[in-house]
Symmetry: C2
Subunit: 434 residues, 2 copies
């Protein structure tokens, strides 16, 4: 036990991870007579749905991050620590972290997910993930650095490679990223780089399944495909990525693509600490939980959000890995934890589908709200409104709103800056310290 | 000569540095029948007067940076390159850069200044400079990391060290930084860190001369001193820093201060490339120029802004190292360069003093406008107005304005985020790649 952080007489709940689920849970425990400890490796919450706008120069990093200490300002039963979770000691009911050991009565893993490269190490070493703010900033720097290199490149093959942008994965993140790069090309690049032959800039979206946005309705998938084509994105469905050495993207039965800019958004996997029984880890590296989010085989360890797989008849592959799932699970777990402590019967999770949406570009978005489906301008405004409202913090809402209004009228993106150059040799290090 | 970048038949002016002076000069050459090449190691212009607000979590980095390519959008006679200047070959009229060699007919060095540690290597290795955006972000990360460390520190001496903030140098930057940290303490820290004994947080401003803001009027100096004291800053004038090992700041005849947070704003020196005759380098590592900004001893090399020392009867130590000097020199040089090319008589520089101002904190600023001097609330609004108007880019103005209005009413600062942790071992590397 970390010496200056003794466990008091009250029950202690440790929550690891300040994402949507962890925050909701911690807030809902505000008025309870227990000790809550929130641990996160960052001192801020990341609004992941807008990471792609940071990467493509549309938003400042700070506008989609929010200080965790501020979220819990005035919550007297909560202690916050910036620390990395190293392992769980399930026998002794404690976690080992980068700043010491902490005992728990109840442990909630809300550690989220990271990019899944499905064991393909060459791809992992060379393609760019986009699951955290430092990763998004690395991407932004890499794009801009490659555009600068293209200004002085004479070899046509290398030039092509520098100007090819490939997004792997046709889910919402992949579609939004490909669309954003296409709009960069359309509105920004020809002004910013007058020496550049803009026709050489090509954007590809590579997806293994037969359609993009497979999780959404057919109508949304088809319309998103149309939107991407209108914006000039080459969509390659039914296409598998076999390898990427940093220069050539190898595809299954299609021609290779030379590309210096490859964004990996093909899948995620749960972030599970050491010490958990491998038997409870299911597909996607997630922890199998029951309907009150308790991890199978443990009596006082819970998992919510992306790191959890709550498998039910309705959701045989687990619930969707989206913010509403995490938030709803966090909220219910707060109630159930108190019921467990008071020996009252718990309540099972019931997912309320909030619908899904994705934006492809200016005036082009797709929205599925149960039976109501719409696409285009109104969907785009809906998307913006929902994201603004979900963003944590009034200042962040204001700054993002200012940026969006500005971009809408000026066709501009303000933050195409190489603040920290991306140096590939530092890849592994960067990932470690991010 | 960089092969894909041949010099055409027109005269070529190379401007190194996209600060206030370089931008003004390049813009004013917009309609001339010459080739202008702008070279900068960053792809953005930095608004240095607000770096301290980035460092203290008041502003996002992106709001005080502006893409250089965008500034010159549509300027057909200008080519922009991200490149580091390595050396000047004054014999062959070319510069060596990180991306190749470039020939010039006229070379303008607008390379600005960097922190001056006056040869004290131990201090340079351990104190934090604040002259660029990456440096300001490093500072922000360091402050926040030390506050997190203070949460779990048990040794009283180390705790004291983690919570002592020392600003060295009582010029405008030092005064503004010390004031901003004092306001952080007052309005933010006690809410963000409820476990912290806020009385242990101490802010020192150390200045070698008998007063702060020595460049301003006595009235401004005295009032700034009062403001700093009101905010709880310990101002130590007539105090020299003898050493700093990262833990203990050694002072002349006063007691040492244990401090993990030491900001160095005690002076600047010009950034001079290799290849320039050492005989023309004067105090502050600046290039001695004549009244048309031509470097002594060269017929086609000019220097403007912080890297230049234009010594006249009125300014025996050179003109003030402020934005208006650089802008006015850039503007006049644009005219004089054309006159030189057309063999017309040139015009000598005449400095128009725009006054000076510094802000200490909320409602507390000092302004000297020639004979008109005022301090307090109105000075503070004047300071904000002038800085907003000088900031490059409408989007940046908007974002900064939103942040300031937000902070004014909420007493909050939105961006206290450790986006990239500051790792001291990486200091030299960080400085190189910044």
């Amino acid at each position: 036990m970390d010496q200056n952080f003794p466990k008091g007489s009250r029950a202690r709940v440790i929550i690891v991870g300040g994402g949507f689920g962890g925050i909701e849970l911690a807030k809902k425990l505000r008025h309870q007579d227990i000790d809550v400890v929130m641990v996160d490796k960052h001192n801020y919450h990341t609004f992941q749905p807008l990471l792609y706008q940071v990467a493509t120069g549309g938003l400042e990093a700070e506008s989609i991050a929010f200080p965790l200490r501020k979220i819990f300002k005035g919550q007297r039963n909560l202690t916050f620590r910036v620390a990395e979770l190293l392992a769980v000691d399930t026998q002794r009911n404690c976690i080992r972290t980068s700043i010491g050991t902490m005992e728990y009565d109840h442990l909630v893993l809300a550690t989220g997910s990271t990019s899944n490269f499905f064991g393909q190490q060459e791809i992992q070493a060379n393609a760019m993930p986009m699951k955290s703010i430092p990763e998004a900033l690395n991407l932004r720097s890499l794009f801009l650095q490659n555009l600068e290199l293209a200004q002085i490149e004479e070899d046509p093959q290398t030039l092509k490679q520098l100007l090819n942008f490939v997004v792997v994965g046709g889910g919402p993140t992949g579609v939004e990223t490909a669309g954003a790069i296409a709009e960069l090309k359309k509105h920004i690049l020809k002004n910013d780089y007058p020496e550049l032959n803009i026709d050489l800039v090509n954007i590809y979206l590579v997806e293994g399944s037969p359609e993009v946005l497979g999780v959404m309705s057919d109508q949304a998938s088809k319309k998103a495909m149309d939107f991407l084509k209108e914006l000039g994105v080459t969509v390659m469905t039914n296409t598998r990525v076999l390898g990427y050495d940093g220069k050539i993207l190898k595809l299954g039965d299609k021609a290779d693509i030379p590309a210096s800019n490859v964004i990996w958004s093909a899948g995620v996997k749960g972030v599970i600490p050491e010490g958990m029984d491998p038997a409870v880890v299911v597909r996607g590296n997630r922890l199998k939980v029951n309907e009150i989010s308790r991890v199978d085989g443990y009596h006082n360890i819970y998992a919510i959000g992306d790191v959890s797989a709550m498998i039910t008849e309705e959701f045989p592959n687990g619930h969707p890995g989206v913010a509403p799932t995490a938030i709803q699970q966090g909220k219910l777990l707060a109630e159930n934890l108190m019921k467990i402590m008071e020996n009252k019967p718990t309540e099972n999770f019931k997912y309320r589908d909030k619908g899904s949406m994705a934006t492809v570009g200016r005036n082009r978005a797709v929205v599925d709200l149960h039976k109501i489906r719409f696409q285009g301008v109104f969907a785009w405004f809906t998307w913006m409104f929902v994201h603004l409202m979900t963003l944590v913090g009034f200042r962040n809402k204001l700054v993002v709103f200012v940026n969006w209004v500005w971009s809408y009228f000026s066709y501009d993106r303000g933050t195409r800056l190489i603040i920290r150059p991306y140096v590939k040799e530092k890849l592994n290090e960067q990932r470690t310290i991010e």
